[in-house]
């Protein structure tokens, strides 16, 4: 099987609008969570979010194209433009061998909101372009068109595991020889307002409205839920041959993907499923548990996830669980749902490439059931070679990706 490398990174989130801003935030331990300003959240319990803010989309998309695009497509195009430039990626000679696979969770909130409000409040017909704007797969279509990617293109919708599935799928296609390169990642905006309000009533989001920048507190004794975030993260994945042939800079290698399902409950995770994803990833990457240096945890900061994930890590890694580092960068950029796996892969790869372990911010006093090394409060300088990234979704879909420092 062929080796698969990461040769380009692009990201936009509450931490900033490009990779240097993300690197800076991760290296200095800066949080992107704040009081929600993009809509009126006063009537909700949760008034904190991780918004990407006003973005200069003109840099990536012409004005006339922008009006046919929802923010979820714009975010994807914006992050992809950075990744493409970063990798000097060009599919003009081998478009049929290049593809695009993204993940998204809850779709184009702004467009759905305005269409629904018009129909219900005023019996006003939505614009015809509402359909191409609202398609969950619109971002992949636009990326395929923009960059001439004529190989496989997909949008994967598995809630919080969407973009981890996307990276895993792209990895699989490249290593099996079905394609040579992919733009792969995820995109997520705030969901339609009705769903945002429903997340509120589901009581899984933090209500730390009095300290918004410290609202996301994974593994902490006083954690009180996740912070909804917007983001897009797009990576350039290539076969080792393609990357080497063109002298590309290689950030890291993807060496395995572990997939599993809880087959248990639509919203409650179960340790068996989480363990199985991690074990499958280790087996796929031909790793022993003690080879792993760092796990970028799913670490949502919900009461239920963090002790379960901790227990699953202990079960899979045994004594080594005490030696490896685990952290949740959701403490900084919130839970970006369908973009989470890709954004957290960016954080993991930046740490591996630049020699630091990203921190779990706001972790002053851990939950007694969460007793691993979570790299609390501040990032730590460290050279590491092997990392995993966990993504566990409502629906019981679990993905663990395995990365290794690239050695030719």
């Amino acid at each position: 099987m062929r080796r698969v490398v990461i040769s380009g990174l692009g990201a936009v989130s509450s931490l900033g609008h490009d990779i240097p801003a993300h690197l800076d935030a991760l290296q200095t331990g800066r949080s992107g969570t704040s009081l929600i300003s993009s809509f009126d959240a006063d009537w909700l319990y949760t008034k904190v979010g991780a918004e990407a803010g006003e973005i200069d989309f003109d840099r990536a998309v012409s004005r006339s194209e922008q009006r046919h695009l929802d923010r979820h497509s714009l975010l994807a195009l914006y992050a992809a433009a950075e990744a493409v430039e970063d990798a000097a990626f060009d599919a003009s000679q081998d478009g049929p061998r290049c593809g695009v696979i993204l993940g998204t969770g809850m779709g184009p909130g702004e467009t759905i909101d305005s269409a629904i409000a018009g129909v219900h409040l005023e019996q006003r017909k939505p614009r015809p372009t509402t359909i191409p704007r609202c398609m969950f797969n619109a971002p992949t279509g636009h990326l395929s068109i923009k960059y001439g990617l004529r190989g496989p293109s997909q949008m994967i919708v598995t809630a919080c595991a969407s973009s981890a599935h996307a990276l895993g799928q792209a990895f699989e296609f490249i290593r099996r020889g079905q394609a040579d390169a992919f733009l792969a990642g995820g995109t997520e905006t705030f969901p339609p307002r009705a769903l945002m309000a429903a997340w509120d009533t589901l009581r899984v989001m933090s209500t730390a409205n009095d300290r918004p920048e410290a609202a996301s507190r994974p593994f902490s004794a006083d954690r009180d839920g996740f912070v909804m975030g917007e983001a897009a993260a797009v990576l350039v994945l290539e076969s080792e041959e393609r990357a080497k042939a063109r002298g590309a800079r290689i950030y890291a290698e993807i060496t395995g993907v572990g997939l599993s399902s809880d087959a248990h409950h639509i919203t409650q995770p179960q340790t068996d499923g989480l363990e199985l994803a991690m074990r499958n990833a280790l087996a796929d990457a031909r790793l022993q548990p003690e080879d792993v240096d760092y796990i970028n945890a799913h670490g949502t900061a919900t009461p239920i996830n963090d002790p379960l994930e901790t227990a699953a890590i202990k079960s899979v890694f045994g004594d080594h669980a005490r030696r490896l580092a685990v952290s949740s960068t959701k403490s900084a950029h919130g839970h970006t749902i369908g973009a989470a796996g890709a954004l957290e892969t960016v954080a993991t790869v930046l740490g591996m490439h630049h020699g630091f372990l990203p921190a779990t911010l706001n972790l002053h006093e851990p939950d007694p059931e969460c007793d691993l090394d979570y790299v609390p409060l501040e990032p730590r300088a460290a050279s590491f070679n092997v990392a995993l990234s966990n993504s566990f979704a409502f629906g019981g879909h679990n993905v663990t990706l395995a990365f290794r420092r690239y050695r030719g």
Partner: protein
């Protein structure tokens, strides 16, 4: 209201060009209007003129120019005659009414 001029203004506004650049003989290709744009423009015409253009009134697969749109709107407005309820220019009184509704 001069419907022709209004439609030309709508198309020009959509393409962000001066209305003088949009002529009846201008083709969609000249103006850079693709099939999705054309459908979106029909929507704007309906909205702004308060006109219903049924899907069978204009075949967008064969429509090629601004004249094709004008022909349909001419026909529809002639058929409707006095029944046509063209959205009037908003008056100050209407603006006040809108405010009350908000």
């Amino acid at each position: 209201m001069d419907i022709k001029a209004e439609i030309i203004r709508i198309i020009a506004g959509y393409k962000e060009v001066d209305p003088s650049e949009v002529k009846p003989e201008s083709t969609f290709e000249d103006l850079g209007i693709d099939s999705l744009d054309a459908i979106d423009i029909m929507f704007e015409i309906e909205e702004k003129l308060g006109l219903q253009i049924p899907p069978d009134a204009l075949d967008l697969n064969t429509a090629r120019s601004v004249a094709d749109i004008l022909e349909v709107t001419d026909r529809l407005t002639a058929e409707l005659g006095d029944q046509l309820d063209l959205a009037p220019e908003p008056t100050a009184a209407d603006a006040d009414k809108d405010k009350d509704q908000d």
